[in-house]
Chain length 291, copies 2
């Protein structure tokens, strides 16, 4: 079965919209998400545009703050400081990556964790690991929502996470091993130093591929009936397309899909859920549901 | 080979002592660790006494603040606040567990993360997960030191962590999967919901047992030549002893040891290292090596 991330994302956006409508009709202002975008990277422009569009769909206010790529770090930090102190803004993100002359970690830590709807601040990362209420980072949270909406069993399942990044691999592993549903899985994290990776994958009931390596997961690595979640979104050159590229996942979809009980396509799988998680976090921020 | 945690701990305490002596001879005051102890639980009393003794061995100043078990949460929080603001104290711990009427998490989060030498504050947990400098929680850090001192290869090794607690299982899994040494292992975290646990253990090059379930790991679960780290310290009744109990690990030591390339005994394995990690964190706090 193909997991339709776009459809689930649309459903959740409608649910968020309904909550926003009810907030607004009770006299409150709509949730407000701000985004800081530095420079003009094509991918970042696209992501931010999608986030702003999602805000509209959810009935949120959105603000885009643009800086040129030669912006001084101090100027960025001062913009963050203003947003931290602006009661009219519930949450905000700084679109990554940032230019090399800017200390990304310093920027992330400058964000008030109570407005850190990307869930990248150490306090939110730590609280997630401990199992406390927090802003969970968008992609892992989106994956959990997909598993939940499709009622995919995770309890006691062997789950293999490919990749140990701070924004996907490590947090999704943490969430999948927590008590409760979706969770309670036996999680193995694989990475560049892993040996016998194919054998390990073949034992998995659930594979989360988050390596950023196009078509890395091949059919011989997947057990019959497995669930495959593809987080990869690499831009691969494709001159037949107007954009000049094709978004390509970490999974060799055409050959893997026939073996799976569930699989996410790229695009249209995890991607739309990432943005919906951000919307969900912004709603949680606006309603002070966490902090 | 038996991993002699006591010997390694003694060596590291001497190393710390040498650094403290050089600090003091350069005119600085020695590192100062404070401990808050609530009530009179036998285990807690013993742990705190060991920590104070270790402070003496390292040349640290130590302060013990005692409260009765009916202490109000607010009184405890106010003591923490004072320690946070006391420039004469480099780091402090609140010995856990606390009585039920006190919110343990609230107490942990009240500690200034820059003095949180137990590494339990969400900021330290989050920074550890991200891979940033931080106070690493004592037991996981102690395990890493043992692996390092015995030059045990972890790169690409299959590592199985039994238990997903916030103070051992999850953080040691995080450390073992990070890039670098000791790390770069392929880590699987097993817990109460795990199926085929014996099969999973049998594939492990390194087993970290942190369940608190005496003699849970039996010889049939361990591959020949495996490294077994036993974090369990359950007090099992033993009327032949003056204390009335025997500290018992999670590993059926007598039957497992002959199969292992390395194994930690209980007591005298991980336990002494936990306290040494605390000493190390206190030295790091005193020298502002992290924050």
């Amino acid at each position: 079965m193909i997991i339709d991330g776009k459809k689930i994302a649309d459903t959740i956006k409608q649910e968020i919209r309904a909550k926003v409508d009810s907030l607004v009709s009770s006299g409150q202002r709509p949730p407000h998400l701000a985004a800081i975008l530095v420079g003009h990277d094509g991918g970042s422009e696209t992501y931010v545009a999608h986030k702003i569009r999602a805000c509209e769909q959810c009935g949120f206010i959105s603000t885009l703050l643009r800086f040129e790529s030669d912006v001084e770090e101090s100027e960025l930090l001062s913009a963050i400081h203003k947003l931290n102190n602006d009661d009219g803004v519930d949450g905000f993100i700084v679109q990554l990556p940032l230019p090399r002359h800017i200390n990304e970690q310093k920027v992330i830590e400058a964000i008030d964790y109570r407005k850190d709807v990307d869930g990248f601040h150490p306090i939110n990362v730590g609280r997630m690991s401990i199992g406390l209420p927090c802003f969970r980072s968008a992609t892992p949270a989106g994956i959990m929502m997909l598993l939940e909406r499709y009622e995919i069993e995770t309890n006691g399942k062997r789950c293999v996470v490919l990749g140990r990044s701070n924004i996907v691999g490590k947090p999704v592993a943490t969430l999948l091993m927590q008590k409760g549903y979706p969770g309670n899985a036996t999680v193995t994290v694989c990475h560049s130093a892993t040996k016998d990776l194919k054998d390990i994958c073949r034992e998995a009931d659930i594979i989360i591929a988050a390596l950023g390596s196009p078509k890395f997961v091949t059919a011989d690595m997947v057990k019959d009936g497995a669930v495959v979640i593809d987080v990869g979104t690499t831009r691969v050159k494709d001159e037949t397309r107007k954009s000049g590229f094709k978004l390509t996942g970490d999974v060799d979809y055409d050959n893997v899909a026939p073996k799976c009980s569930y699989i996410t396509p790229v695009p249209g799988g995890v991607g739309p859920m990432t943005i919906v998680s951000l919307m969900n976090n912004t709603l949680l921020a606006a309603t002070h549901a966490i902090y």
